[in-house]
Each structure stands twice: as structure tokens, then as C-alpha cells.
């Protein structure tokens, strides 16, 4: 670059001459210098800014998995997660795999054939499936051992239709309690790199789409076709995901603490004196703060949330949903609620039906087609419940969305109950 000498032209002191290469070098140096400085400044400023980890996320920081919602409970920040079953619980179960057995209670082969045909299978296929070497009788029950070929031959629609028809008949535990993947969570399984690709391909063939969720029922068939324990464990670890929710209460400097404390503090064994100081401490922070919902729960769920029951000793009952629901407010669990009859009595005597849950502690009861109480959960706030799914030590106590629970118990009717003392 050079400036023209004086006398070479009008205004020549203010004119700069560049060769092409000189201009390029000049521009590159300028761009590089600015980029470097911008990088440093932007990086260090971001490093000092507190994010939504402790602070309440702004609307543009929220997405469909992490969002806030207001109500009488205050402002809840929820984050969808999926829990996988602990690997330690899988090794033992998967060492030997039993082939599937379907037990049709009080039904004969002809009735089963009619059931199959009524739910989408052609006559010919039914005859082949229910060949004499695959069926046997046990008292008034017919036992059917579906072959791999039969299971694999079903297309997604037929599988959904047939399995839905058999659900609730106590034919097979996986028919009654399939793995289910609400929303797009089945993609997480399909995208998981831990299972063997062949196993994932087989899973893809067997998973089927219901009205509101993907389901997977043919667990025994899948496991039977996976040659090694290690691969079975990996596949099962990926399959056994349960949608759950991490929930936090947001307290802003202008939050009405009285309203929030009233909602969460009215319940037995939840003391205002414990809740209020925490909420007020957060309110005093310049930007407010959040607190895990677990701090607002009574001792029973607080101690158990996101933990698994211990594997039971032989003959020892495993705490189930009803035990968990009816002990929700207890400091010491009452083991009478391990018995269905006692649970029924307590629900009949101490609760009344309401159209919708609206109070912390309301109960959701899931009734099957025969009116049997198959599941219960405790309403927390918004669309969240505290639940223990199934009488199994491999399912934790957790918070779920009502819609996900409904998808799991799709064919059941929900009844909402409130304690007579509320």
C-alpha cells in the first residue's frame, strides 16, 4: 500500500494505493484480527453468564422436552427423561430365555382360532400357527407356544389389532404389559448404538404402532433369537426405557409464595414450616431460582423417588402401585396395602370420585374392562403423577406425565379420587 506523494494529484494525501496481493493481505489480516478478538470476547462473556441450570430458563431456551407451566402449584419447570433399567437387574434374568407361552384361560382351540381370525389373521395362517404341536390343554385353559415364524410373520397392523384384543386376558405378561414408547421415544431405541445392528433390525420388525404410542410385546421371541447374553443385556437395556419427568418449581422474585406454599403445604406430613423458608430463600435471589419438586413431597415419596425397590426374598411381596399410592402420605409405610382387598376397602371408604384431579394428593385409578383396579398413581401438579408401575422391583418410583401413563394403560378407564378429609 502506498500513498501518492504530494503534488501528484488533487487530494492526493488522502489516497491509498494497493496492489491486488497487498489488498488481499490487508483484508485477511483485518478479518483475522477481528475474528480472533470477537472469539475471545464472546467466549469469555458466555463463560461468565449463568444459564438456566440454576436460573429459570427464558422462553427461547425452552423446548418441547424442557418447559415451564403455570398453575395454582406455581411455575413448574419439567424436563422429559427416559430411565433405563439397571443393568445389574438384567444379567440374571437373561441368562436363560424362555420361549413365549400364551395361556388362554377358559378357552379352547376353536375359540382361539376364532379370536385370531376376528383380529386380522387369515384362516390358513391361523391353522398353521395353531398346529397341534404348538397347542396343549391345561385344565380349562389352552396353552399356545407361538413359533418364531408365526410371530415374525405378523405385520404391524395385525400385530397391534391382535395383541390389543388379547390384552387384559392375562394371556402373557408382555401382552398385558408391553414395552411402550410414547411420542417419538422409539427413535431413541432405534438410534442406540449399544445393541447389535441385527438385534435392532429384528426389534424394528417386531415393534408396532398403536393409537398413541409404539409398543413392543414379543420380548421373549426377540431374546430367543439373540445368541449371546451380552447382546441380550444390551438390547434389553435399550428397550427397557421408561419415560419420566424431572420437575422443579420456579420461584421468581415476584412469585406469590403464599399461593405456592398453600398448594404444596396443605397435605399430611408436608409442613409449611419446611416449605416456606426454602421458597422465600429463592424469592430473595436476584433472579429467583428453582428447587427440585422432591423437596415438596412428603417423606414417603421423597425417600423413594427415582429409586428401585430391593429385589425381594423368596415369597416376599414387592411393593406395587397401590401400596405406593396409599402410603404416599405415611411416614411409616403400612404393609396392609400389599393386599388388594385392603386397598379396595381403603379406596372405597376414604375417597370419593371427582371429575378431574386438581389438588396435590388426588388419586388416579385405572380400571380394566372388568372394573378391576389395575393401577393407581398420585396426582402432583399440572399433568404429573407419582407412580410405581407394576409389581416389579425393576420398576422405580418416579414422576410421569398422565398422558404417558394413559398410553401405558391405554385400554383402561381412569377414575379420579380425592380423600374425604380434603
Amino acid at each position: 500500500m502506498k500513498q501518492p506523494k504530494n503534488g501528484e494529484g488533487r487530494g492526493s494525501a488522502n489516497v491509498f494505493r494497493f496492489s491486488l496481493s497487498g489488498l488481499m493481505v490487508f483484508c485477511l489480516c483485518l478479518v483475522a484480527g477481528v475474528s480472533f478478538i470477537t472469539c475471545k470476547v464472546a467466549g469469555s462473556r458466555r463463560a461468565w453468564t449463568a444459564g438456566p441450570v440454576m436460573n429459570i430458563p427464558e422462553p427461547d431456551e425452552q423446548d418441547k422436552y424442557t418447559f415451564t407451566r403455570q398453575g395454582p402449584w406455581g411455575e413448574l419447570l419439567t424436563q422429559d427423561i427416559s430411565l433405563q433399567r439397571p443393568v445389574e437387574y438384567l444379567n440374571q434374568d437373561l441368562k436363560t430365555v424362555q420361549p413365549p407361552v400364551w395361556t388362554f384361560r377358559g378357552m379352547n382351540v376353536a375359540q382361539i382360532k376364532a379370536l385370531f381370525i376376528a383380529n386380522g389373521l387369515p384362516q390358513q395362517e391361523v391353522e398353521k400357527a395353531l398346529a397341534p404341536d404348538c397347542v396343549s390343554t391345561q385344565g380349562t385353559n389352552t396353552v399356545f407356544k407361538p413359533s418364531d415364524a408365526f410371530v415374525l410373520s405378523l405385520n404391524s397392523e395385525t400385530r397391534d389389532r391382535l395383541y390389543s384384543a388379547m390384552r387384559g386376558l392375562d394371556v402373557n405378561v408382555y401382552l398385558d404389559w408391553p414395552y411402550f414408547y410414547p411420542r417419538d421415544t422409539v427413535k431413541l431405541v432405534l438410534a442406540d448404538t449399544r445393541p447389535h445392528p441385527d438385534d435392532l433390525a429384528l426389534f424394528k420388525q417386531l415393534v408396532y404402532r398403536g393409537k398413541d404410542a409404539w409398543r413392543f410385546t414379543d420380548f421373549e421371541t426377540l431374546m430367543g433369537r439373540i445368541p449371546t447374553l451380552e447382546r441380550r443385556v444390551m438390547m434389553t437395556a435399550s428397550l427397557a426405557r421408561q419415560p419420566a419427568v424431572l420437575a422443579r418449581l420456579c420461584i421468581r422474585p415476584n412469585t406469590d409464595i403464599d399461593q405456592v406454599a398453600t398448594y404444596w403445604g396443605h397435605a399430611p406430613n408436608v409442613r409449611f414450616t419446611d416449605i416456606r423458608p426454602m421458597l422465600e430463600a429463592l424469592k430473595r435471589l436476584p433472579k429467583g431460582g428453582t428447587i427440585s419438586l422432591a423437596f415438596l413431597l412428603p417423606p414417603f415419596p421423597r425417600e423413594r423417588l427415582y429409586t428401585y425397590p430391593l429385589p425381594p426374598a423368596p415369597g416376599e411381596p414387592v411393593p406395587d402401585c397401590h401400596w405406593s399410592t396409599l402410603n404416599f402420605w405415611n411416614v411409616k409405610p403400612d404393609n396392609r396395602f400389599l393386599e388388594a382387598a385392603e386397598c379396595g376397602r381403603r379406596l372405597d371408604d376414604d375417597f370419593y370420585v371427582i371429575p378431574q384431579p386438581g389438588k396435590f394428593g388426588d388419586v388416579l385409578l385405572f380400571l380394566d374392562r372388568q372394573g378391576q383396579r389395575r393401577h393407581s398413581a398420585v396426582y402432583l401438579a399440572d399433568d404429573l403423577v407419582f407412580t410405581k408401575n407394576g409389581q416389579s422391583y425393576v420398576r422405580p418410583w418416579m414422576i410421569m406425565r398422565i398422558s404417558d401413563l394413559h398410553a401405558l394403560y391405554r385400554d383402561f378407564t381412569i377414575v379420579y379420587l380425592r380423600r374425604k378429609t380434603d
Binding site: G11, N14, V15, F16, R17, F18, S19, L20, L23, C27, L30, V31, V34, S35, T38, A42, G43, R46, A47, W48, T49, A50, G51, P52, V53, M54, E61, Y65, I81, S82, L83, Q84, R85, P86, E88, Y89, L188, L246, R248, R271, F272, T273, D274, P277, M278, A281, L282, R284, L285, P286, I291, S292, A294, F295, R302, E303, Y306, T307, Y308, P396
Partner: protein
């Protein structure tokens, strides 16, 4: 900008001429464009970088009340809060304020007098304070009812020296366990509208201690001079503030879960099968997530964290720091730890001394200059402990920073212990 013409009038393609304005314009455009593009690129990269939210604080950096710390425990975010005692605990006890009583166990009046003189009071002052209408004997103990004049007359240095000498002698609850305030907390108190200015002025006369931490022991005297219940409650609530910490574990998509799980799952009654699924669920989130430290604590601590003990029935012991420390990993609290002698036996038998805490569950002991236990807490991670200060139902179980606890027990030495089974 113009290309330089050759002498024959045709333009040289290899030379560029810029006047000053043009050069400035070109530079500005280059600078603005480079800064904009670099800023966008840096922002996008940060957003898609691992992290449970945007713009996380760098490790070991504090941003106001929030700090992040990396270690074998993972990545811990902590937020300083202040807890106030529940108003409900004050209303009753402040309806009728009892005057202060100092009980000198196993001491005569003469010995008490000597103690006073040895710690800053002049002979006449001591004589006047310990006038016959102010002292009495109860068995082997001397009882002293300090007058308001005496308490108010103490110079700050004398108050500091005398009360330090009395601490540990179990003379009075508030001398043994004073309220303490960091410097910025006192600034806050000045702006608290709940405290009447006269009451604040009186409070300022009564606080004592160093420049970093001030203490307050003359609670009964102050309350006795406040004329109305409403003012007493306002002052008591405001003065009852204590520092605490909200802590969350941060799990990024690239977090080493094994390391984190091994740290937190090493504590008794914290099961790896409970901890791992939660952490892995967070790791699978696109930006990771955070989890309240509460989920990683054993049941005893999980159930009590940020709650207050219920007011005891007459004669019923109050759970104190040692009971809390040695029951930290208990499923069912062991009442033997209400007895200090039992705690000492437990320490001698089951613990060994270490230089610094490093495992969740290590014990932090505070001993006075006579080797007597003054306080204990359980080390969690970073600089955090699980603590229950004092034998007082109005103090909650909290997470605190070791430094804050040290400030409270500034005249004590710290000893770190580890369980022999660890």
C-alpha cells in the same frame, strides 16, 4: 475506490486506489462482517456444545451466588441461599419473653466473677453485674440473670472476649450457638423493612466478633426490649437467617458417568442401581441435564434435607449435629447418637483421622481448645457438608459450605475423619 490508470489511460488490473473515506468504509465493512459471522459461529458452537443449558459458568468460577466445581464427584453447581426460621416457630415463644439466664455448671459465684474479670470486665463491673439479686445457686451450679444494663454496657471487644470464653461451657443456648452473619448479610439486614429501626439499632449494639463474621448472642435481651409481639417476630425472623447451599450435579453428554457413579454410589445406603439410571438419563439428553444433590444422598439425609425437626414434646431430646452426622447413612436412625458419650465411643472405635476430606461420608469435627466436640457434619463434595447446627429444633438440616461452618466455630479446630470401612 479506483484502479490506477496506466499512462496510456487503460486501467491496471493489479492496482487499487482508495481514498480515505473509501478505506475507512472498507475496513468498517470487513470488521462488522467478520465480527458478525464470528459471533454467530461462536454462539452456535457454544449452544450445541455439551451442557444442560446455555452458557454454563466455567469450572471453579463464581458468578454472583452461583459457582461450579469439578472433581471426582462430577460437576457440581452450587447456589448460595439464606434460610430464615419459620415464623410459626416464633409467634409462640415470643408472646412472653423470658429473661436471659446463664448457668455456670460446677462453678461458684466467686469463680464466675474471676472468669468475668479474666475476660475483660473490670472488678467493679463484675461486682455490679453479679449483685446478690442477680445470682443464685442451684445444686453445684451458679445461676446468673444478667440485667439489661449489664448486657448493653459490654463493649464489643469485651463481649467478644467474654462470650468466646463462655462458649462451650453450656452457659446459655445463644452463647453456645450464637447467630452469625457474614458481612454482606448485615448489609441486607439494614434494608429489611420488617425490622423496626429502633430494634435494628439495638441489635447493632449487641453484635460482636471479627470483621468477616459477626455474632449475636443476646437474643433474649433484645426481645425483652422490643415492645410488641409483631416487632419481635419481624426482628427474630430477619435475624435468624443462616447461609445454606442449593447444589445440583451437572451431567453433560460427554460426562464420565462411571466416575460420578462410583463417587456417589460409594456411600452406605446409596445404591448404584438407583444413581446410575438417573445420571444416564440426563447424559442422553441433547444438552445433558442437572440433578438435585438430594437424589444422591442416603435416605436419612434425603428425607431431612431442608426440613426442620418438629418441636419436641417436654423432655423429648432434640436431634442435634452428632445424631445427624452419625445417622447420615442409617436407614433407621440410631437413638444412641443422642448421647454424646456414645458418639465419642463411635468415633474412637469406627473412625480414623485423615488430612482432608475426599469421600462423601467423611466426617468433619469441630473441637474446642479443651478437645471437646462442638459440632460435626458430613462431607459431601467440593466444599459442602450436610449439617444440623446445634441442639435446636429451629435449625434445619442443610447443606453448607465448610467455610461458613468454620466461621461459626472460629475458636474450634477442625478434624477430619473417615469410617474404617471406607
Amino acid at each position: 475506490m479506483a484502479k490506477l490508470k496506466k499512462e496510456n489511460g487503460t486501467a491496471s488490473a493489479k492496482e487499487f486506489r482508495l481514498n480515505l473515506t473509501g478505506l475507512i468504509g472498507l475496513c468498517l465493512c470487513l470488521v462488522a462482517g467478520a465480527a458478525f459471522i464470528t459471533g454467530k459461529l461462536v454462539g452456535t458452537r457454544q449452544e450445541s456444545a455439551a451442557g444442560p443449558g446455555l452458557n454454563l459458568p466455567a469450572s471453579d468460577v463464581a458468578d454472583g451466588a452461583i459457582s461450579a466445581k469439578q472433581g471426582p464427584w462430577g460437576e457440581l453447581f452450587t447456589q448460595n441461599i439464606t434460610l430464615e426460621r419459620p415464623t410459626e416457630y416464633f409467634s409462640n415463644e415470643l408472646k412472653a419473653v423470658q429473661p436471659s439466664v446463664w448457668t455456670f455448671h460446677g462453678m461458684t459465684v466467686a469463680q464466675v466473677k474471676s472468669l468475668f474479670i479474666a475476660n475483660g470486665l473490670t472488678q467493679p463491673e463484675a461486682e455490679r453485674a453479679l449483685a446478690p439479686d442477680r445470682v443464685s445457686t442451684q445444686g453445684t451450679n451458679a445461676l446468673f440473670k444478667p440485667s439489661e444494663e449489664f448486657v448493653l454496657s459490654l463493649r464489643p471487644e469485651t463481649r467478644d472476649r467474654l462470650y468466646e470464653a463462655l462458649r462451650g461451657l453450656d452457659v446459655n443456648l445463644y452463647i453456645g450457638s450464637p447467630h452469625y452473619y457474614a458481612k454482606d448479610q448485615l448489609e441486607w439486614l439494614k434494608g429489611d423493612a420488617r425490622v423496626h429501626p429502633d430494634d435494628l439499632a439495638l441489635f447493632k449494639r449487641l453484635i460482636y466478633g471479627g470483621s468477616d463474621v459477626r455474632r449475636f448472642s443476646d437474643y433474649e435481651t433484645l426481645m425483652g426490649k422490643i415492645p410488641t409481639l409483631e416487632r419481635r417476630v419481624g426482628a427474630a425472623v430477619s435475624f435468624s437467617r443462616q447461609p445454606a447451599v442449593l447444589a445440583r450435579l451437572c451431567i453433560r453428554p460427554d460426562a464420565d458417568i462411571d466416575k460420578v457413579v462410583m463417587y456417589w454410589g460409594n456411600t452406605s445406603n446409596v445404591r448404584l442401581i438407583d444413581v446410575r439410571p438417573m445420571l444416564e438419563a440426563l447424559k442422553r439428553l441433547p444438552r445433558g441435564g442437572t440433578l438435585s444433590l438430594m437424589y444422591l444422598l442416603p435416605p436419612f439425609a434425603r428425607e431431612r434435607l431442608y426440613t426442620f425437626p418438629p418441636p419436641p414434646a417436654p423432655g423429648e431430646p432434640i436431634p442435634d449435629c452428632h445424631w445427624s452426622t452419625f445417622n447420615f447413612s442409617s436407614v433407621t436412625p440410631d437413638k444412641r447418637f443422642l448421647d454424646l458419650a456414645e458418639c465419642k465411643r463411635h468415633i474412637d472405635h469406627d473412625f480414623y483421622q485423615i488430612a482432608r476430606p475426599g469421600l462423601c461420608g467423611d466426617v468433619v469435627l469441630f473441637k474446642n481448645n479443651k478437645g471437646e466436640l462442638r459440632d460435626s457434619a458430613v462431607y459431601l463434595a467440593a466444599d459442602l457438608v450436610f449439617s444440623k447446627i446445634g441442639k435446636n429444633y429451629t435449625m434445619p438440616w442443610t447443606i453448607m459450605r465448610i467455610a461458613d461452618l468454620q466461621a461459626l466455630y472460629s475458636n474450634c479446630s477442625i478434624v477430619y475423619l473417615r469410617n474404617k470401612t471406607d
